[in-house]
Amino acid sequence: MPDLSRKDVLRAGLLAGGGAAAGAALLAGLPQGAASKPSKKQDAEILNAVLVLEALQAAFYADALGRASLTGELREFAEEVGGQEREHEELVRQALGSAARDPPEFDFGDATASAKAFRQAAIELEDLVVQAYNAQAPNLTKGALAAAATIVSVEARHAAWIRDLAGKNPAPFASEPQKSAKAINQALNDTGFIK
């Protein structure tokens, strides 16, 4: 077996989906539910949506660290998780290669202006990202699914961490709620973070 580093293996898995990319907007053009047959072309569509989510999160934490006067463990959380979101973004971008589309502009408004608002927005964002990955994972080819799976559980760890920090149940359900791509897209639009 060739001696590949973890990141190379991940990249290989994601790259299987790095072929042609047609121009669909955000998550709206994605398969609804889990019935679509996986293909490399579809991988690229999904990964471009994932790229938006990861870029959004990375920008969110960077903005909060600059504006929200975070202290203590909340600051530690934002630093640690912000760095991990940047790693996710970088990996997905590299995997997509020339098929990667530039993420949109973001505006976090009041959500990154205070510690309290940041905490609430982080909970909503992390829970939403976990559900977005879970909704699209069955539509990926097996190699891309294996790579995405190494990211989604880290997003779930982020969600649990910030929920616990906020005094909320870190795991409020025995099985992650299933949301359609449409519902996730709607929830994402409702944040107003994407310009």
Partner: protein, 225 residues
């Protein structure tokens, strides 16, 4: 050490049914090849699993049974904590919440598997349910292991419905892991990427805990070598 068959050592099949199925042989075939000295048990558990990775219904059943055996282990662990009176404070809250989840996972997997579900093993947690410190350390290990194990199996699942269900359990295990890690004073998300773990490696870790009782059965074994 007297020779024991694996059937005697693991009479409820908590480990070996999934292992045999993952190796693509029936339990009887597998066990018939597996008579060995007690000291060699771990070696048998770690024996190479042929890479017949093509997804199939048969393999799905093996994967779900593998998941069920891990859920039994966790369910039994947290339920024993509850039976012993639980812990005070946030740690008790974690144990109660997670116990209910792991029980729900067992029920869900047994429902899907029906008559093909493996039986629950017998466990001795060797004090890990008795002190807060031992509980925390063991729970961290169990939860991180479950995350890695689900992740290792998800891409091998053929049936989309099973895959969706497994993914829904996978991220809840990750939430449990982050929660208990924080309570144990560890960073909840240590790395940007969580590694998968193969079934073989996972079962090796489980065997190394010695939590799964491997006492000689009073009944005659169902299969002998």
């Amino acid at each position: 050490m007297s020779d024991l068959t694996l059937a005697e050592l693991d009479r409820d099949g908590a480990l070996l049914d999934p292992l045999a199925a993952l190796q693509g042989s029936s339990r009887a075939e597998f066990l018939s090849r597996a008579a060995l000295g007690g000291g060699a048990l771990l070696g048998a558990l770690l024996a190479p699993i042929p890479a017949e990775a093509k997804p199939s219904h048969k393999q799905d059943v093996a994967i779900l049974n593998f998941a069920l055996s891990l859920e039994y282990l966790q369910d039994s662990f947290y339920t024993e904590v509850e039976r012993m009176g639980g812990f005070r404070g946030p740690l008790g809250e974690q144990a109660r919440t997670v116990a209910a989840h792991e029980r729900a996972h067992v029920v869900a997997l047994r429902d899907v598997l029906g008559g093909k579900a493996v039986k629950r093993g017998r466990y001795d947690f060797r004090g890990a349910t008795e002190s807060r410190d031992a509980f925390r350390r063991t729970a961290v290990a169990f939860e991180d292991l479950a995350v890695a194990a689900y992740k290792g199996q998800a891409p091998r699942i053929a049936n989309t419905g099973y895959l969706v269900a497994a993914l829904g359990l996978h991220t809840v295990e990750a939430r449990h892991a982050a929660w208990i890690r924080r309570l144990a004073g560890k960073t909840p998300a240590e790395n940007a990427f969580d590694e998968p773990r193969s079934a073989k490696s996972t079962l090796g870790v489980v065997a190394s805990t010695k939590f799964v009782l491997q006492t000689r059965s009073r009944r005659s074994p169902r299969f002998t070598g």
